[in-house]
């Protein structure tokens, strides 16, 4: 009997190993249903969500070193766009945006950390790609895109350069190994332009060289360009060209093995967008809720805020999860503005990161 138990334990230990192989892309098969949640009717069961509830804390993987997205304030508190997404999920699931344990993850660590269950949620400005989503690739389950970024080019206004053609034969500062290098080379080659790449290993060196005038332009993700520009002595003397050389849609991700948990995260993220659509903010969410309670005609908002129906429990969340999330961090527009937009030192223009009805790319499916 004892021997049989040992064998069983060994076999169990091998299951995560198979998962690891799948995660690192060595296996074509996903290693399948290890500890996956089973959704059925109103009694949603998700191993992951139960684990988070019993732990009382959401473990959230962030970068920790990207201005505006995740960084540590002087008071030791994590702040940023990615951080607020973690807090929103924690609030929706556990009732408080403070019940989060942040883990700094590097680019190479992030997917194994999710696959091994080390973090419950990855909110680390991660570009959604097929390879990362596919079961035969990294096997992530991506929540909706929350930030549309792309490689851009910054030039000094005084140089008079207004488009990529103006950079013909000029030196351009790049971050070596970043996607921007590939994107810029592709874009320039498409138009038969040549340029001289000057590569740097850190973003500080790169912008140091740019400010010394060693290159005619600097190229990296547009959000990073905007962030670095705020540190210049005269930010207005530099222009970010309108060309967007690649699409970098960034979104949070969870492990594919637990679809119920992935669904919950997906709809918490949608709720942030939907709240902006419905004009519900951190400040007025209480009033809006009270209004919805007394006025049965506001069916949309009543369902959304959990006054009527059971949308939350269908996901395995409390019915008022939207109220909790918005109370903790506000709606999408507020999160954007506070961390990277007008309300922050970065002042990145929203561009496509606006609601569909304002000409942006953000849309939430209906809550019904």
């Amino acid at each position: 009997m004892k021997g049989f138990e040992t064998v069983l334990r060994r076999l169990k230990a091998l299951v995560p190993l198979a998962l690891l192989l799948a995660a690192s892309g060595c296996a074509n098969d996903s290693g399948g249903g290890a500890g996956g949640g089973v959704a059925g009717g109103s009694g949603v069961r998700s191993a992951h969500m139960e684990a988070i509830r019993s732990r009382g804390q959401l473990s959230c993987g962030v970068d920790g070193q990207v201005a505006g997205f995740s960084s540590v304030g002087a008071d030791g508190r994590y702040r940023g766009f990615d951080v607020d997404v973690c807090r929103a999920v924690a609030a929706a699931l556990l009732g408080s945006g403070e019940k989060v344990e942040f883990r700094n993850l590097t680019a190479t660590q992030r997917f194994p950390a999710v696959a091994s269950g080390e973090v419950d949620l990855l909110s680390r400005n991660t570009t959604v790609t097929l390879g990362r989503d596919a079961p035969g690739g990294n096997g992530m389950s991506f929540a909706p895109v929350l930030f549309h970024d792309g490689v851009g080019v910054m030039v000094p206004v005084a140089s008079g350069i207004t488009n990529l053609a103006g950079l013909q034969g000029r030196p351009i500062c790049l971050l070596s190994g970043a996607t921007s290098e590939q994107a810029l080379t592709d874009a320039m080659r498409r138009d038969n332009h040549s340029y001289v790449p000057l590569k740097f290993s850190t973003i500080d060196e790169m912008f140091g060289a740019y400010q010394q005038g060693r290159c005619a332009a600097a190229s990296i993700d547009r959000s990073a360009l905007a962030a670095q520009r705020t540190t210049f002595a005269d930010p207005a003397a530099h222009r970010i060209l309108p060309d967007v050389l690649s699409k970098e849609p960034l979104g949070p991700a969870t492990a594919q093995a637990d679809p119920a948990w992935a669904d919950a995260v997906r709809w918490i993220v949608y709720a942030l967008i939907e709240a902006e659509d419905q004009g519900i903010t951190q400040a007025n969410v209480k009033a809006k809720l009270a209004e919805a309670r007394t006025n049965p005609k506001l069916a949309d908002r009543r369902r959304f805020l959990g006054v009527e129906g059971n949308l939350g429990s269908q996901l395995g969340l409390p019915d008022d999860f939207v109220v909790k999330a918005i109370t903790a961090v506000g709606n999408y527009g507020e999160i954007y503005s506070r961390n990277v937009g007008d309300g922050s030192p970065l002042k990145i223009t929203p561009g496509p990161n606006r609601l569909w009805k304002d000409g942006g790319l953000l849309v939430s499916p209906p809550f019904r």
């Binding site: 169990k12 230990a13 995560p16 190993l17 998962l19 690891l20 920790g64 070193q65 990207v66 201005a67 505006g68 995740s70 960084s71 540590v72 304030g73 002087a74 030791g76 702040r79 344990e101 942040f102 883990r103 700094n104 993850l105 590097t106 190479t108 660590q109 194994p112 950390a113 696959a115 091994s116 269950g117 080390e118 500080d204 962030a227 670095q228 705020t230 540190t231 210049f232 961390n339 922050s344 030192p345 970065l346």
Partner: protein, 418 residues
Amino acid sequence: MPQPGLADTPSSLRPSPLRRLQRSLAPTVADGLLSLGLIALLLWVGLQLASWAIGRADWAVLQLNSMLLLVGRYPLAEQWRLWLLAGLLAVQAGLSWGLLRAWPRADRSLQGWLWPRHDRIAALCVGLLALLLPAALQLALPLQARWWLLAAALLALRWAAGRWGTRLHRHQLRLVGLLWPVLYLAGLWLIGGGLGLPRVASGDWGGLLLTLLLASFAMALSFPLGVLLALGRRSSLPLLRWGSVVYIEFIRGAPLITLLFIGQNILGFLLPSGLAPDRVWRAAWVLIFFAAAYLAEAVRSGLAAVPRGQLEAARSLGLSQAQALVQVVIPQALRVALPTMVGQFIALLQDTTLLSLIGLLDLLGTARGIMANPEFLGHSSELYLVLAVLYWGCCASLGLGSRALERRLDPRSEPTRG
């Protein structure tokens, strides 16, 4: 205690200071030009740095983040524990330092000097640092006062122990040495909590605290492991020998960063969830196993330097193999290997910066997090400069301490002039 004159030669025979300066800086014209050029270069670099530090640098980033750099996200309400620990450490360090001076080695002249030259310089540095640095950063007055108190406790105990330490009995002196491990365990308890204190998760330890904690933990545990591995490699049992060889060569063949990645990413898969130690301790164990392999080779070189006759003589005196090793061979081997081992320890301290690459908030990782704070963008130069000074300070004190230890352990050397 009597303080002998600095030189034994009569002053009339010594060359004038100007003459000595000329002889050391410019014995020939070409050397003089070289000296002048170098002095000009150093002055220029120093002036540039000073003008940047005073004029252009914005030290607010340091002033506002000083506690973050020191202890990371350690909860504010519990930080008194760290100050208490720092106080205990200052007391113990002052005590040990003073007693070392009060009790010089028995096989040398028993004349100890209360304040040899190196000690005076070190005391001056400690005092000035505690007074000037917090003031220059315009830290809050209670914070400044704490630094003064720490330095004062250290220096006062150094003085008191040096002055009256000779009254202690030999057995009591041993107790002071034993206090270090006790203090270390108490420190772990103070930092981590438990047993009545509220727990502080290791994820919240950071900054200099995490760097020093991990480095000291790795040094303390990798040392015995390294000695065992070195003995294993010289063992006559093939299994033990080959096991040690494979281990040492495997670890030395892999870069630390790969081992850290394995520890962080793959251990989570191999062990059932909940059993794997958390990230900080996983990194600590990787550091220990890594450092042990290098230390083993340093110790082995020391073992090889001890003549065979030593072991044979010890055995013929009736000591068992184990006794002969522990009492005769290993002490001599360690003394030979000491400079190399301290070199490894310094390298280990600097290797802890790799922890920031696996997402741990050591000193470098914390500093990077601060650099990403939108309020402080563009102030990386100030932070990197401070990091350089902090790391240099830690490594230099390790080096100085080891040289003092070397001098003390070397039976052939003359009593030091200090």
